[in-house]
């Protein structure tokens, strides 16, 4: 595993070319969330869509229906039969950066990522891992890093790791929808977290 800057930058270009998609792009997802506030991890699934008009949509299907749409500066969250909530991303920089990374990955445009993140690419035999560390100190307090792993031209896991040990794992596309709750270690393995440098803290769950 080599990560010299020049090599990494060339590798990043190659990865970007491989990942490049023309919107609309749709993919299924399953998300597991581990938090110290929760008795047990949360688990939702649905689809992520990057539309031709630049709108990012996250549709949760199970266990309830929820649609999050990001268009420009506005995020609109509509859950079941509740009135939609709208918030401005200007007021929520963390959310803006996180959603920006989703959009970049779906569309396969990695260059904008380096605005908000320190981007490192690590390549293994059968997979690659992108590590995104926020540049903003304030953001760093809420989000230690985002780690995206995949193989060839397909990302398949996005792991958002918080400094307090909380984490969200988003598995993309080909994931079989399991009803059983996988252990955190299983998810970390699937997202190649264990292959990377030391974990910040012991997970809380």
């Amino acid at each position: 595993m080599l990560t010299s800057t020049a090599a990494s930058s060339r590798a990043l270009d190659e990865l970007e070319r491989a990942l490049r998609r023309t919107p609309p792009v749709t993919t299924g997802f399953v998300e597991y969330r581990f938090s110290h506030l929760l008795k047990k991890p949360l688990h939702v699934s649905g689809s992520l869509e990057y539309r031709a008009d630049g709108v990012l949509a996250r549709q949760v299907e199970v266990p309830y229906r929820e649609l999050t749409e990001v268009s420009g500066d506005q995020v609109r969250i509509e859950r079941a039969d509740r009135p939609a909530r709208t918030l401005s991303l200007q007021r929520a920089p963390q959310l803006r950066v996180m959603l920006g990374s989703f959009r970049a990955l779906l569309e396969g445009r990695l260059a904008p990522l380096s605005q908000d993140f320190e981007v490192t690419l690590t390549e293994g035999d059968s997979h690659w891992t992108l590590t995104l560390v926020p540049r903003d100190a304030r953001l760093l307090k809420a989000l230690a890093r985002i780690q995206v792993s995949g193989s060839a031209d397909r990302p398949d896991c996005i792991a958002a790791l918080e400094p307090d040990g909380d984490a969200a794992f988003t598995l993309l596309e080909s994931v079989p929808a399991t009803t059983a709750q996988p252990a955190r270690a299983t998810l970390e393995h699937r997202c190649h977290l264990d292959a990377i440098a030391p974990r910040a803290q012991t997970p809380a769950s």
């Binding site: 969330r33 008795k39 949360l42 963390q94």
Partner: protein, 772 residues
């Protein structure tokens, strides 16, 4: 002039200098228009007078930055906002970077008294259960980062709900956390001045501070700053008026010096001629500043205009000087017409003294005292320092020829009939728009500035400047309760599209009663813990997690309701102070309206609400006020005219003499009115004051022409005096007529017309025809 004369002159000048110093230390000039308004009638006018120039919307300066790349402009906007917020000239400064008005940390437990979330459904099992389910879903959504920290303390997210509720309804676009116009080329800021909109000096100071801070914030950028708003306009107009007045004043002074030198061929006369006017003006000012706490700027401006008549007094003395005759004797000779003029004018001003309008009483006092002192100094002081005449106007060949020609002119007494008839015809043909009621026309703003203002207002979504709802009450709580009672109908008005949005103090700070009602509905600790325990069963949360929430509710149940005083020094006070205040012991709450589409519906809403709620149409109310004001002044003028006739009658004793003296000024007034109306000018207050001045001039001309004896030499001297008077006045006011400031132009045109018409009519109608 002998030694005694020089000593007297020196003493006079010293006295004037002392007077200037004393007045400077004492005179407080106010810009508060309210001094110049009649007692308001009715709630609308009372509110208008109380709030004129002080409503939150009118104190906002709209600021735009352009001329550079958006990120640079956003940076300047940020540092400018920080700098302005620490200056004493400004209150609220907003550029879009501010976090939503959040509830201050110290007041956090109060959120359960401030929020309307549990008004409909109290904090019961269902509410708690659905809140926990929602928070669980939030935890699994991208928004989790935003709310995670609040879940244990605030599972119903009242903090976010309040922040949402306190958000401005519409906001400009943001770039890099700064407001921008929709096209993204101009950064926008809203700056609230502490000075009222009608206080041009305060506004000028604030604008200077704004520009200075902008220069500092700008650094090397090529960015430009544009300001707009009512306060900006008042500053611009004052500066323009001052600049033009100074410019015209300079030319007029030079012209006067030339004219006086040409008339008397003696530099000393030019200087001495200024003494009575200066003495009168100072005396008037001294008396006014002694009698009144503060003097309005308009009083000063109008007062000095009206005292201008006194500039003629020394001319009468100088022109009537004879070789070998002491100036004191001359003074005694010109005194009867002069004294009649001064006395009748002053008695006429009595009507203004008792008008009940402070500004008008000040005006009358200033003018009357000024004229009396100018008259007395011309009679008793000026002759003692006047050098012997360089030449007697009676010896002038040119004047003799002119006098001869003029004497042979026919006496067109038909004018007595023709002028009134012609004027009546004009008034009949042009009945519409006789009076100008629109206040905005009085302080006219260049149309380009108005368009820019409108565009910025639209971009910044500021509240409507014209329409307001006002609730009043004995104390703040009564007003807050009345504002709350309006909420239902206001919400309906928004739904029906009558208005886009509204804002008032009770949206931020509910009344005591409402806070107590909410408090009473909150569950006690045991009950809440039980609710949480049940709800947590079916949720991914542990009931213990919500201990901070239970503690906050327990505290909220014990709190004394939040009062306006508790909010001092919090960001919320910025929202409340300008919308909830007491004036003279009574409390007022303003409801700002946004995007008023149906004023009629809002007026109906105001009428249907309690009698303590008033719909205020500032434009309408101000027009009514101006009209009321004017009829007040007209009444005063009628009384003055009557008094004037009585004094003149008393002085001249014979009806034929009285008629000859009064005819020119009455006819001139008609001529001026007819000419203005024929050219489509609507009359305003400034025209009225100018008419009064013109009438005063006409009276003096007529008195002197009437007084001139049969002696041809003396007739020539009188003609000389009146020519100098009329020409010098005409010089000053004809210049003013060219002003681009409409107020100055109105005064200039009216008085110029008056001088010409008065002089010609006095010459033709008042002067006895001399048998050739």
């Amino acid at each position: 002039m002998n030694r005694r004369g020089w000593l007297l002159l020196a003493a006079w000048c010293v006295l004037l200098a002392v007077g200037v110093a004393w007045i400077q230390s004492r005179l407080h000039v106010s810009a508060d228009l309210r001094l110049f308004m009649p007692k308001p009638r009715g709630e609308q006018q009372r509110l208008l007078v109380q709030n004129i120039g002080e409503s939150p919307a009118s104190r906002l300066l709209l600021v735009a930055l352009d001329g550079d790349q958006p990120p640079v402009l956003a940076g300047i906007s940020k540092s400018l906002t920080l700098a302005l917020a620490s200056r004493p000239e400004f209150g609220l400064v907003a550029n879009g970077a501010q976090a939503p008005v959040a509830i201050p940390e110290t007041l956090l437990p109060y959120r359960y008294l401030l929020t309307d979330s549990f008004d409909l459904h109290s904090l019961d099992a269902r509410t708690v259960e659905s809140a926990l389910a929602d928070r669980a879903a939030d935890m699994a959504s991208p928004a989790s980062t935003l709310i995670e920290a609040w879940v244990p303390r605030d599972p119903t997210l009242e903090v976010l709900h309040l922040a949402d509720r306190w958000q401005p309804r519409a906001e400009p676009r943001r770039i890099d956390d700064a407001w921008f116009t929709a096209d993204g080329r101009r950064a926008l800021l809203l700056v609230e001045t502490r000075a009222a909109a009608f206080d041009p000096d305060g506004q000028t100071t604030a604008l200077h501070a704004l520009r200075a801070e902008f220069e500092r914030a700008r650094g090397a950028s090529a960015a430009r700053l544009t300001a707009s708003g009512s306060g900006y306009f008042s500053s611009v107009i004052k500066q323009r008026t001052q600049a033009e007045a100074g410019w015209f004043g300079g030319i007029a002074t030079a012209g006067m010096i030339l004219l006086l030198w040409f008339a008397y061929r003696h530099a000393g006369f030019t200087l001495l001629g200024a003494l009575p006017l200066a003495s009168g003006a100072l005396a008037g000012l001294a008396v006014v500043s002694w009698l009144f706490e503060s003097v309005h700027g308009i009083t000063l401006a109008f007062g000095f205009t009206l005292i201008g008549v006194a500039q003629d007094y020394p001319m009468h003395l100088f022109s009537h000087l004879r070789h070998g005759e002491s100036a004191l004797v001359t003074a005694r000779r010109v005194w009867p017409p002069l004294a009649t003029g001064v006395a009748s004018t002053c008695v006429a001003y009595l009507a203004f003294l008792i008008s009940g309008v402070t500004g008008l009483a000040q005006l009358a006092c200033l003018t009357a005292c000024g004229l009396i002192v100018a008259g007395l100094t011309t009679r008793y002081l000026l002759p003692r320092v006047t050098p012997p005449a360089a030449h007697d106007p009676a010896d002038s060949k040119l004047l003799a020829r002119i006098n001869d020609r003029l004497s042979r002119l026919p006496r067109p007494f038909a004018l007595l009939l023709v002028i009134p008839l012609a004027a009546a015809l004009v008034f009949w043909l042009r009945p519409e728009g006789f009076w100008q009621n629109d206040l905005s026309k009085l302080t006219p703003v260049p149309p380009a500035l108005l368009r820019q203002d409108l565009a910025l207002r639209h971009e910044l979504a500021t509240p409507d400047l014209r329409y307001l709802l006002v609730a009043s009450g004995a104390d703040a709580q009564e007003v807050l309760a009345r504002l709350e009672s309006l909420d239902d109908s206001l919400a309906q008005a928004v739904n029906r599209g009558a208005i886009g949005a509204y804002d008032h103090a009770a949206r931020y700070l509910p009344s005591d009663a409402r806070q107590r009602a909410r408090q009473a509905k909150l569950p006690d600790t045991a009950e809440l813990e039980r609710l949480l325990h049940v709800a947590a069963e079916s949720s991914p949360f542990d009931a213990q997690l919500f201990a901070p929430f239970v503690a906050d509710i327990a505290r909220a149940r014990e709190l004394r309701p939040l009062s306006p005083a508790d909010l001092a020094a919090t960001p919320l006070s910025l929202r409340i102070d300008s919308a909830l205040f007491d004036r003279g012991g009574r409390w007022y709450g303003l409801v700002s309206l946004f995007d008023v589409h149906d004023p009629g519906a809002m007026a109906a809403l105001g009428n249907a609400a309690s009698p303590f709620v008033t719909f205020l149409d500032l434009k309408d109310a101000s027009e009514q006020l101006v009209a009321a004001h004017r009829s007040h002044i007209l009444l005063c003028l009628d009384v003055s005219a009557l008094l004037l006739v009585v004094v003149i009658g008393f002085a001249l004793r014979r009806v034929s003499r009285v008629l000859r003296v009064l005819a020119p000024m009455v006819l001139t007034t008609l001529v001026i009115l007819a000419v203005l109306r024929a050219s489509g000018v609507s009359l305003n207050l400034f025209h009225l004051i100018s008419l009064v001045l013109a009438a005063g001039l006409g009276l003096d001309y007529a008195l002197f022409f009437e007084h001139a004896s049969d002696d041809p030499a003396e007739q020539r001297r009188t003609l000389h005096a009146l020519l100098v008077c009329a020409l010098s006045t005409l010089l000053v006011f004809a210049l003013l007529a060219f002003s681009t400031v409409p107020v100055l132009a109105a005064i200039g045109i009216t008085v110029s017309l008056g001088v010409v018409s008065n002089f010609v009519l006095a010459l033709l109608l008042t002067r006895e025809r001399v048998a050739a």
